[in-house]
Symmetry: C2
Subunit: 105 residues, 2 copies
């Protein structure tokens, strides 16, 4: 599995528009083949910032996602709404296990 | 590296208290050995829910984190504030690379 994390920071006054575009992207992406999860969250420590957390079945699914026209359009739409370039990191998961430890982390 | 994700959903009327406890846990955890990152975010689609995203250098660092008294106290504190048991998933990362793809995901 692949975990993708990303972030985007809105220019002041453009947060709502950035969030609406992000949610549209999230909802569309969830329907793509190989999308395990896709969500956007608000950084409680940086109110103009959102982070993305995505899980994809494999590299091929992620690559196909990158090539979807609406994905590219979303990135272009972010440009004028954000104060800095969005970030993205791709993590390949070796194994995964839920844990019964008493800590939530 | 290890990626830990988690979530907690507040009982109505207890969100602010849950968030304050979560932020205290995040700030304390960031100072622990082997903590690469630790953050809490608000789920924009479920306003009573927060998610945690953490990166730890290795399993030993994560295990030590689980055994910190304050980590256990945090989990206990969540109990009466949340409407369902918190979740946690542990992902071992095989490799990691930032990506210059034009998509933010």
């Amino acid at each position: 599995m692949i975990i993708v994390t990303g972030s985007a920071t809105a220019r002041p006054g453009h947060f709502d528009e950035m969030l609406a575009a992000s949610l549209e992207h999230v909802h569309r992406s969830r329907l793509e083949p190989g999308c395990v999860s896709h969500a956007v969250y608000r950084d409680v420590e940086h109110p103009l910032r959102v982070v993305f957390f995505e899980q994809w079945a494999d590299r091929d699914a992620l690559q196909a996602h990158f090539e979807v026209a609406e994905s590219l359009a979303f990135v272009e739409a972010l440009g004028p709404l954000t104060s800095e370039p969005p970030t993205m990191e791709i993590h390949t998961v070796a194994d995964r296990g839920s844990d019964a430890s008493p800590s939530a982390g």
